[in-house]
């Protein structure tokens, strides 16, 4: 191969724009950071393996950019500046088209009960008037470009409008809500100095947007462990209003409560927990999506959904907004006058409801990739190891004769895994270690072998809480948990995870689970997957490998032989 480099002059340019609108960004390039900062406002990070990250330009990402005041020319100029090759014409046309749609429908306040909708072109009004779902919302047509809708239809209108390809520029403004004295402490109750980091402050400011109607709704995208909760508290301090916080689990509710107590002036009497066991409604109330969407029968009412209107909330925070369930979306349609903050590590939804997130919660208002935070030392590195081990020779015959399902089980419960777990635990002595598995028998065996506690789905809540607390405090260094248990909890201090068995779930499930397990700490986190060689486990492990590599984790594979294991 020759030494001449094709397009040498452009080689420093780190991005490649594909014709489907995806952007490949070369990480090793000197211009990487500049290019990333340039494209991030109008694209979504899809995957970030070691060498080339993939971003995606979509109408939503363009509207997100347009919402911040960016223009089409600016987007194209940024792409051209960093693009190694010519930008495909189709991509430019699509960007143009998306920009031309932004701002073509604006919502303005008329009076308390009405909203004026202003459209850029007459044909948009015609399109709206010919849509059988939108037309009933229209109360009065004022001119060829203006009409009136009732205030309570604000969410529904925006939701339907985006389905026909028009994002609404919502400038109606918000209800201020019930005031609340809310301040962040400079020193946490735990004694640690506390203050928002620079990127957290930026996220808060972007959401606030100087108090203009453009702010007050939006999504902050930050990686796991980077302090999204802190951003939420920063926004609460800015607004000083009663706040409803929606989380994914009871454990997350409790964590919010402990963080609020630790880092703000709020006292216990101001913070309410609205979960299965407790139903408190206080100036700051924290609940779960599950309780909001609970109903006795499939056709019954969502009994707890009234919580959204139970108080004059001035702010609603949606934690992990990418898993927001559909009924909560529906409820959110009705509360568009409330300020809404979404917090997430990814905007990608398995159910493809990104549009709903955009129209009902708000556009992305802040995004920073985790690699940048890692480089700046805010979060620590995470490494994944796949340990491949053979099946003991005496089990081979039984394994070959078994059906696929049984083969998977035999491979999962490979006795060599027990030896390996012991070695890994020994190697990471002093660290908090989590052992995760699918089969209870195997987990019981490990628990008794290592003499450490086991948490399964059947462990009662008080014991669970006690064990988590002890684990967090470092009193219990090793905890064995079943898959069911580990998905439902948040374990902030685990720095080592060993997955001894289990299948690969959905991308979101894995992201959630592994994201929490690998929640970056101040030192390197390690994730081990133990896999029996030449078994169906390898297929699941491969999917996990690809997923983790795409998340940017370093992934190593170690093949152990009989000799290694015997020694």
């Amino acid at each position: 191969m020759g030494s001449f480099r094709f397009l040498m002059k452009d080689n420093y340019k780190p991005i490649i724009v594909q014709s489907d609108g995806s952007i490949l960004l070369e990480v090793m390039s000197e211009a990487y950071e500049d290019a990333r900062d340039a494209i991030l406002p109008f694209s979504e990070l899809v995957k970030s393996p070691e060498y080339v990250h993939t971003y995606r330009i979509t109408p939503l990402s363009i509207w997100n950019a347009a919402a911040t005041g960016m223009t089409c020319d600016e987007v194209v100029a940024r792409l051209e500046r960093f693009s190694r090759y010519d930008i495909p014409r189709g991509v430019i046309l699509r960007i143009n088209e998306a920009f031309s749609r932004w701002g073509s429908v604006r919502l303005l306040r008329a009076d308390q009960s009405n909203i004026i909708v202003e459209v850029r072109d007459e044909h948009i009004l015609e399109e709206i008037m010919s849509n059988r779902k939108l037309v009933p919302i229209v109360k009065d047509v004022m001119s060829a470009r203006r009409f009136v809708i009732p205030s309570d239809a604000r969410g529904r209108f925006k939701h339907l409008l985006i389905k026909v390809g028009y994002p609404a520029d919502d400038l109606v403004g918000y209800d201020d809500g019930e005031p609340l004295d809310f301040r962040l402490r400079r020193k946490a109750l735990s004694g640690e100095a506390f203050g928002l980091r620079q990127y957290q402050k930026e996220a808060v400011e972007n959401f606030w947007a100087n108090g203009s109607p453009r702010g007050g709704q939006g999504i902050v995208v930050l990686p796991c462990g980077s302090g999204k909760t802190m951003v939420g508290m920063g926004v609460m301090e800015k607004l000083k209003t009663c706040t409803l916080i929606l989380c994914t689990s009871v454990a997350a509710v409790r964590q919010w409560i402990s963080e609020l107590v630790d880092k703000t002036n709020l006292t216990d009497d101001k913070i309410g927990e609205y979960t299965g066991p407790k139903k408190e409604i206080k100036p700051v109330t924290i609940t779960t999506y599950q309780i909001l969407t609970y109903r006795k029968s499939r056709r019954g009412n969502f009994e707890h959904m009234n919580l959204m209107r139970a108080r004059n909330w001035g702010l609603i925070i949606y934690d992990e907004v990418h898993v927001l369930p559909a009924p909560v979306f529906r409820a959110t349609i009705e509360i568009q006058a409330k300020r809404r903050l979404g917090l997430t590590a990814t905007l990608i939804r398995e159910d493809g409801l990104e549009e709903d997130t955009f129209s009902l919660i708000g556009p992305k208002c802040y995004d920073v990739p985790w690699k940048e935070l890692e480089q700046k030392g805010f979060i620590a590195e995470a490494v994944c190891y796949e340990m491949r081990i053979p099946l003991p020779r005496h089990m081979e015959g039984k394994y070959r004769a078994a059906s696929d399902r049984i083969q998977f089980r035999i491979a999962s419960e490979n006795p060599y895994k027990d030896m390996l777990v012991r070695q890994i635990v020994r190697r990471h002595r002093g660290e908090s270690i989590l052992i995760i598995g699918q089969y209870i028998d195997q987990l019981k065996r490990l628990s008794s072998m290592l003499d450490v506690p086991l948490i399964t789905g059947s462990t009662n809540e008080s014991r669970r809480d006690m064990l988590y607390r002890a684990f967090r405090q470092g009193d219990i260094p090793v905890l064995v948990v079943s898959k069911v248990a580990n998905f439902a909890i948040d374990l902030p201090d685990a720095s080592v995870a060993i997955q001894v068995s289990g299948t690969f779930g959905s991308r979101q499930e894995e992201a959630q689970r592994l994201g929490r397990i690998l929640r970056p700490k101040k030192k390197v986190s390690t994730f081990y997957t133990l896999v029996t060689s030449e078994s169906p486990e390898e297929n699941f492990a491969h999917k996990r490998q690809v997923f983790l590599a795409e998340q940017g984790y370093r992934y190593m594979i170690r093949e152990l032989s009989y000799a290694d294991l015997d020694s």
Binding site: M1, S19, E386, H542, A549, I557
Partner: protein, 582 residues
């Protein structure tokens, strides 16, 4: 063979020589003197300089048509302004620059041969090396390599005649449609023999595909060049001679193409557009390079070298080294990647998306496929490490090793016995086990058994699965390109050659008689061209017409002949032409 000026002058009838020399030189001379005068470059240069650009353009057209051109071609080229062109030709004929064979007025035109080099020197003295030439970007067979790689990894069924079914086209369109004209590339691959039909499936001929990738880029470009001109025999040589190692203006090249297309087929519609399309195609393919001003073109050096010497020089300088093997098993490949390595990559990885940068993925199935084709894990590892811009992640190499290890092997002997000690689970149902681990393969079921086992991750060694032996592509046209094959329009010499416009061919029917009645009325003398009795040889006679009469339906002219000094009767139907006198 081209006619020389001397031959041309010698073809003039003696009486014409007199007339012409006195008109051009002011006195009657012999053929040799006239030849010398018409070969005087200085004199011709002065004459040419005095021409209007339009008249000169006509001369240039004649030159680009090879110096002589059939009359019906002239009519085809100038169909929209025939009268104007006739006037121009007449002017040029009077200057002794353009001739016409025969007396019918429909015979070929001939350009005075000595004019050609003078015209040429005025427009060609351009040295290609003095200009800035745009470097060619990318290579042309990347599309073909991509399609081969898609077909390698997907099962595409086809009808007899290698026409893929609708689903097959859909697969190709979906994967490659945004980048290329899928149908054209597919058909080209079929014609080049890189794709074949096997048991109703399109399969890749490895040998020919390798040949395409190895020296294919330049070969392919030349092939496209010849293919684009194959409907006009000899035009490729003509273009090659015309441009040679120099440069030519883009406009002239288009005009030459237009003229030659019209020469081959005077009724060809849209010849002008077709000429433009051809030039665009050649510049797009890198056959031609365009200079910085965008007005001049030349043959790309590698193309010219191949055309003139027949040596195909494979250049590596265009190939990009920016291949990235990602830890998530993706391989990102730019379009300008070395086609041979690109083809090899298609054996070990599946093409997922063809785009500005192509995205491949290493999968268990692709690794299995490569092992069947004779790769070994170490070779795959070395290959990936060699092509990758960065270090290949450990997990990628380990995963490939793991997949390779999990692969089971089976053998088919003589298409009848399957030797597979790997357990009955993976053996197709219905196969009879004649000895432990040896199964009988039913007749004509070998392919199905192999396909079944491949799906189960079993590599089957059988004579049918071995790679094809080295095969070469038949690129068609032989190189170097010979320049001496030129088809000229035949010039009938029977009636001699005349300066264009000095003769007036007589119209048929009553109009012919009218010419003579008019001359009688005006009392004008005429010079007529009339066949000698018995021989058919044309002779020129100076006559004074006296009387026109018709006997038995045949018109006759009674006239006084100045050459013989006697009265003579001429059969008007036999008079071939009259000389145009001022």
């Amino acid at each position: 063979m081209r006619i020389s000026t001397a031959e041309l002058i010698n073809s003039l009838p003696p009486y014409m020589l007199e007339l012409m020399s006195s008109r051009i030189m002011g006195e009657k001379t012999d053929a040799e003197t006239l030849t010398r005068a018409l070969g005087d470059a200085k004199m011709l240069g002065r004459v040419l300089a005095g021409l209007s650009p339009e008249d000169r353009a006509v001369l240039e057209d004649l030159r680009d048509l090879g110096g002589q051109v059939a009359w019906h071609v002239v009519m085809g080229i100038y169909s929209d302004r025939l009268d104007e062109i006739k006037e121009r030709l007449e002017r040029l004929g009077n200057l002794g620059l353009v001739f016409q064979g025969g007396l019918t007025g429909r015979d070929p035109l001939i350009l005075l041969p000595t004019v050609e080099p003078i015209l040429e020197s005025h427009c060609k003295n351009i040295l290609a090396r003095d200009m800035d030439w745009a470097e060619r970007e990318g290579y042309c067979i990347s599309e073909h390599v991509l399609m081969i790689n898609v077909i390698q990894s997907r099962k595409i069924r086809c009808r007899p005649g290698m026409e893929p079914f609708k689903k097959g086209w859909a697969i190709l369109e979906e994967t490659l449609g945004s980048l290329m004209d899928v149908e054209r590339v597919y058909k080209e691959l079929v014609r080049l023999g890189c794709l074949e039909e096997k048991e109703g499936r399109i399969v890749v001929n490895s040998g020919r595909s390798m040949a395409l990738a190895m020296d294919g880029d330049i070969h392919y470009r030349l092939w496209r060049f010849f293919e684009s001109l194959k409907h006009i025999p000899g035009l490729d040589s003509r273009i090659y001679t015309l441009i040679s190692d120099g440069a030519i203006s883009l406009d002239r090249l288009k005009r030459v193409l237009f003229l030659n297309m019209k020469r081959f087929s005077p009724d060809m519609p849209n010849a002008e557009d077709t000429a433009g399309t051809l030039v665009d195609l050649w510049t797009g393919l890198g056959i031609l390079q365009v200079d910085a001003s965008g007005k001049w073109v030349r043959f790309s050096p590698d193309v010219y070298s191949a055309l003139s010497t027949g040596n195909i020089e494979v250049s590596y300088s265009y190939y990009s080294e920016d291949v990235i093997v990602q830890p998530n098993m993706e391989v990102l490949v730019p379009m300008e990647f070395d086609p041979l390595d690109h083809l090899n990559l298609g054996e070990v990885a599946d093409l997922k998306k063809a785009d500005v940068v192509n995205i491949y993925r290493l999968t268990k199935a692709s690794i299995l496929r490569s092992l069947i084709k004779g790769w070994i894990p170490e070779k795959i590892q070395q290959f990936l490490e060699r092509i990758s811009k960065h270090e290949v992640a450990d997990n990628v190499l380990q995963t490939i090793k793991g997949w390779a290890k999990s692969l089971k092997e089976a053998h088919i002997i003589k298409g009848t016995f399957l030797v597979f000690p790997g357990g009955k689970d993976n053996v197709p149902r219905g196969l009879e086990e004649i000895l432990p681990g040896i199964y009988q393969v039913p007749e004509k079921c070998e392919i199905n058994v192999i396909s079944f086992l491949n799906k189960k991750g079993v590599m089957v060694n059988s004579p049918g699965t071995r790679a094809e032996v080295d095969e070469h592509i038949n690129w068609g046209r032989a190189l170097p390109l010979k320049t001496d094959i030129e088809e000229e329009d035949k010039v009938p010499r029977l009636d001699g050659v005349y300066p264009y416009g000095m003769l007036i061919p007589l119209p048929y029917g009553p109009k012919r008689i009218e010419v003579f009645r008019e001359a009688i009325k005006q009392g004008k003398g005429l010079i007529i061209f009339y066949p000698k009795m018995g021989y058919g040889e044309i002779q020129m006679k100076r006559i004074n017409p006296v009387y026109v009469y018709i006997r038995s339906g045949v018109p006759f002219l009674e006239a006084f002949c100045e050459d013989t000094g006697e009265g003579e009767v001429f059969d008007i139907n036999k008079i071939r032409a009259i000389f145009k006198q001022d």
